[in-house]
Amino acid sequence: MEIRALVVDDSAIMRKLVMRSLVESKMALFLFTEAKDGQDAVSQFDVENTDMIFVDWNMPNMTGIEMVHEIRARQKRHVPIVMITTESTMARVEEALAAGGVDSYVIKPFTPDVVRQKVEPLLDKMAEAKKAGGSFFSKLAGKLS
């Protein structure tokens, strides 16, 4: 399975750590695009070709949650978004999860195993949706819009 992932973090080191964890988890063949903040992510978001987004919460210019709102407004199909966060923003991430803006989260510091636990269910759903002709995430996107 090939996944085109957009990795959004103002820290280049954290982007590398996220990408390395995803590669080491061997869940899929990940093809990465990097963005240095929410604004950069919105401009790099490819409506047709971005499969999944990994985003930090606390960033300059446009925060992670502001980016989530922008992406949700632009998407044509539901793109799973995984928030990468510290303990400090957990309450707000849980609110975002409950509201459906965010699909999952990973707390820093993380290991490839933790990333796998959080991301694999999303990949399974994507695979099921592909088999069923894109129904799961299309329906989810319909519900959210």
């Binding site: 103002d10 820290s11 280049a12 080191i13 954290m14 590398k16 750590l17 390395r20 606390n58 960033m59 300059p60 966060t85 510290t86 303990e87 400090s88 923003t89 957990m90 309450a91 820093k108 510091p109």
Partner: protein, 156 residues
């Protein structure tokens, strides 16, 4: 007492991020910080007003950043600022979570990172402050807080 969150968080965060056992250094010898250091500064503002700093001598910074990132990071590179800023961000997040659990709310700023020789925070006189020195196999670590409105150690 809330300032005790800081040393607890330092020990926990460096174990989790760098796999390093960090212990308080009773010697209080600061000579390791006399030369090149990298210092990250973050504010926690809300029911406390703290400026948190994390200060690492160059040898400690290089070893800990490499353990955190999984690859060598030269002291003079942009990646070093990124790595230490991120470690400070995770540390501040851990402190915030500890304050939250005591019913004390605070928000975090983004980290700022300074690198150089003889780096010192020049602070307004009379502000309550506390600093802690730690030792680990990578070398020394110094962390501290300077309080604004609220006196260190006061109940939330």
């Amino acid at each position: 007492m809330h300032s005790d969150c800081v040393p607890e968080a330092v020990i926990s965060v460096f174990a989790a991020t760098c796999g390093t056992a960090v212990a308080p250094d009773p010697s209080s010898a600061d000579e390791a910080f006399a030369d090149s250091t990298v210092m990250a500064v973050i504010s926690l503002v809300g029911e406390v007003e703290w400026t948190l700093f994390l200060d690492l001598p160059a040898p400690s910074a290089c070893l800990l950043a490499a353990k955190f990132a999984g690859f060598e990071i030269p002291f003079d590179s942009a990646d070093m600022g990124d790595a230490i800023g991120e470690l400070a961000n995770i540390l501040a997040g851990d402190i915030k979570a500890r304050l939250d659990s005591r019913g004390v709310r605070a928000d975090l700023s983004l980290p700022s990172v300074l690198r150089g020789e003889h780096v010192n925070l020049v602070l307004q006189k009379g502000l309550p402050r506390n600093k802690w020195l730690f030792a680990c196999p990578a070398g020394k670590i110094r962390a501290g807080i300077v309080a604004g409105r609220q006196v260190l150690g006061a109940k939330g």
